[in-house]
Every structure is written in structure tokens, then in C-alpha cells.
């Protein structure tokens, strides 16, 4: 980043002056200046924010004040920090509704997103204890594992690790997994009547392998979903989905009673 650009970005002469005698706390004033710059595109998505030292000098405030302002913006999801590198502007996050069970492709298509899957591996494996328990089989029994890297608008967004009964998995890999959702293949091509899924949602940090596939730093926050999809009583498709925390969210409306 050129120093010319950074000076423009934090200049006190640009209409974003802060007022030391205002009753509004300095960190609040600075937060709102930075927020405006993010929302109007002066700080582009994924670009690096000026360093704390640069902002201290530009705003004439202490490091703690800058950190409070940045902390607020991070909590709102507008910026994210990369350990040892500084703060970066978050992209507006893509979101998927959890109001009904949908594959990623069918969920994202109505919003105009382009999705694509790269097949990482497809093979028969021995069921781990977790996978076996979910399918009601014995650990070590055969299951078919399909690992895919999913792209949203040509950027990696998630790693999906899916398990199937072997006969289903072997048929699935004959299909076009690059552009079609597995849910749609299971329903339209194989005639399975998918009914519902049980989900667990949590946050983990990326290990080396997930970080490499997703293009994040090791340790970056990921949204992890564990999902078992059923056709009636029959468990069909058990998945671990790992989404980039900086690029994706789930949304849902729930009722009180």
C-alpha cells in the first residue's frame, strides 16, 4: 500500500476531524469515522487498515483509544484482525438461511451468487466412531467419504466432508459434483425423498489443512456445521462443513412459542 494512499485515508483535513472537547468519547468518534470509510468504500473490502501507529498519529490519540475503536468495529464484523499483520476490512458476508434445509448451491443461487465445487477426494473409508454412531453402524464399517472445496463467486468459502452409505457414494461420484448440489442429485436422480436434517453449529479455528484449502491463516475462525440429513428415518448424508468465518453467516428467524 502506498504511503500517499494511507495519508489520504486518515487525514484530519478530509472532513473527518475529531473533536477533543465533544461529549462524545474519542474512540466513538474515531469508530464512526472508520466505519464511514469502510461503508463508503474508501477502505475497500479485504484491504489492510492503516496501522495503529499511523492512526494514533493521524488522529492525535493514544493506542488504547485506537484499539477501542477497532475493537468495536471488529465486534460488529466490519473488520477482522490477522495475528501479527494488523486489521483488514471484512467483505460483506454471504449468508444462508436456516429456515429450511437446502444445499449450498440452491441456497445461494437466488441471490445471484455463482457456486462451484472442486472435488478434493472420494473414497471408501472406515467409519470413525462419530460417523458410525450417526449412521447406526459399527466403527470400522465401510462408508463413502467425499471431500469438496466449495467456491462462492470464485473464492473458496467452505470445505465439505460428507459421508454416505457406500452404494450411494459410489453412484454420487459418477455425477457432476462440480456444479450440482448433492441434495439435488439424491432427490432428482436417485429418488430419495429428503425430509429433514439435524444440525450442530459451532466455532473452531482452522488447522493447517483447512487453512490451506480456504486461503486463511492457520488459527482463523471457522463456522463449523455438523449435519445429518435424513430421508424419513433413514440417515443418508452426514457432513462436516467448515465455512470461512470472515465470509459467511447463517440467518434464521425463530418464534418464542
Amino acid at each position: 500500500m502506498s504511503s500517499r494512499k494511507q495519508i489520504a485515508v486518515v487525514s484530519k483535513t478530509s472532513g473527518d476531524a475529531i473533536d477533543a472537547v465533544s461529549p462524545v468519547p474519542l474512540h466513538t468518534q474515531i469508530r464512526e469515522v472508520l466505519r464511514r470509510r469502510i461503508l463508503d468504500g474508501s477502505y475497500a473490502p479485504h484491504s489492510q487498515m492503516p496501522s495503529e501507529s499511523q492512526m494514533m498519529e493521524a488522529f492525535g490519540v493514544s493506542r488504547i483509544t485506537i484499539r477501542q475503536a477497532l475493537g468495536d468495529l471488529q465486534k460488529e464484523g466490519l473488520i477482522f484482525k490477522v495475528m501479527g499483520k494488523g486489521s483488514f476490512v471484512a467483505k460483506p458476508k454471504a449468508f444462508q438461511s436456516l429456515s429450511r434445509l437446502q444445499g449450498f448451491g440452491e441456497a445461494m443461487a437466488p441471490s445471484g451468487y455463482e457456486t462451484y465445487s472442486m472435488l478434493l477426494s472420494a473414497r471408501q473409508v472406515e467409519a470413525s466412531q462419530v460417523v458410525a454412531a450417526r449412521f447406526g453402524i459399527r466403527p470400522g464399517d465401510a462408508v463413502f467419504e467425499i471431500q469438496r472445496l466449495r467456491y462462492l463467486n470464485r473464492e473458496p468459502i467452505s470445505v465439505d466432508v460428507s459421508y454416505f452409505p457406500p452404494a450411494i457414494g459410489e453412484r454420487l461420484v459418477q455425477e457432476d459434483l462440480a456444479t450440482r448440489d448433492i441434495f439435488v442429485i439424491l432427490e432428482n436422480d436417485f429418488g430419495h425423498d429428503l425430509t429433514h436434517a439435524d444440525l450442530q453449529i459451532e466455532a473452531i479455528s482452522a488447522d493447517e489443512s483447512l487453512a490451506r484449502h480456504l486461503g486463511t491463516d492457520e488459527g482463523a475462525p471457522l463456522l463449523r456445521m455438523e449435519r445429518m440429513t435424513y430421508a424419513g428415518e433413514q440417515p443418508l448424508d452426514f457432513e462436516f462443513l467448515y465455512y470461512r468465518g470472515d465470509a459467511f453467516q447463517y440467518r434464521l428467524r425463530i418464534e418464542r412459542s
Copy 2:
């Protein structure tokens, strides 16, 4: 940790020998040994796993093999890594169902969990752009902010930052926020008929302030929820909830159609 304990934990003489000529890959065998040790309590929740070097020596395998085994266990949520410190055993995660709108206390009580809130701050503030947009007011208009640190079985589990119309917030701080859910106070004491909430769920990393309150490392993965709760059309309670990723998950069943 004493070296005696670590030697016992990874000893090949303890019935957990691995078989170099088995068709089962070495990393799979090691993963299952480690998993058994976690599930039977030999590795206690929150205890540190032996180092990669110790496991390389004990199992007689390469670092990449140990890392594959640990990576699998991390993806299943059985262990978590702390940058620069190694791998630790995860506790079984507490979970809250998203099938209906509940406060944390009322959601956890039926499972026998003890919950408690420590009030961090309660004050009138100027609405940020995000908060203003959600309430349909102007940025800078007054809202009441309540920050709480929530405990589950006496350990910190989440930081809740809640915003209310000022009149409601000023009444809330007169109530017993340590042991009662705000939802219950709004309904039973204030007579608001809560109907539904809109949720956004994502993963972020802990900043210094969240890490300090939650007792995690800075950068640790957090499950972040943004939630606006309504009484009919009226927006009443807007919250940012930050849960420890290593201790909490949401669960949900969703239907296909």
C-alpha cells in the same frame, strides 16, 4: 505435567499398540487410540495433550502422521489447538436448541446447568449505525446498553451486549440481572409479549477484551450471534452474543420443505 504421566499416556505397552503392516493407515490408528483416551477420560477435559515430538517418539511415526491424527480429532471438536502451546482436550460442549426463542438461563436449566450473569456495565449510549438501523432510529439517538458476562457451571461462557429503548433499559437495571433472564423479566414483570427474533450466526476471533472476559487466548474462535427480539412489530432487545467456541454450540432440526 510430569513426564511419568505423559509416558503412561502414550505408551505402546498399554494395549494401544499400532500395527505398521495393517491396511488401516497409521494416522487413522493413532487417531483412534487418542480418541479412546479422550473418551475414557485418560486425557481429561482441558488437559494438555502430549507434544507432537513425544507422540512421534511413542508411536514411532513421522510428524505428518501425528498431525493428520490430531487434525482429524480437531475437526471433530475433540481437541483444540492453542497457538504456540500445543493441543488440549475439549470439554463436551454445552448446547442450546434454536428450535424456539429462549434466554440462556431458561434454555440451560432443564439440562441441570447452573447459570449466572455478572453485570459488566449498564448505561445510556449513543446508538451506533448498526444499532440505530435495527431499531429504526437515528445514529446518535439514545439507547440503553447492558453488558453481561454469563457463566455456565461457574465458568465464563459468553459476553452479551444488549441494547434497549432507554425507558426499558433503565427499568431493567433495577431488576436482578444476575440470576434472571432478561426475556423473562420483559415478559413476566414488564408485560411485553415477545413473539420472535431474527438471528445471524457467525464465527469470529476473540479480541483482547472478549478474551480477557472469557478466559481464552486472544484470537480464540468465538461463536457470535446477532439477535433482534420483537414483541409483534416492536423491536425490543438487540444483542451481540459472543460464546466460547470451545465450550458451546447451537443445535437445530430443519425441514426440507
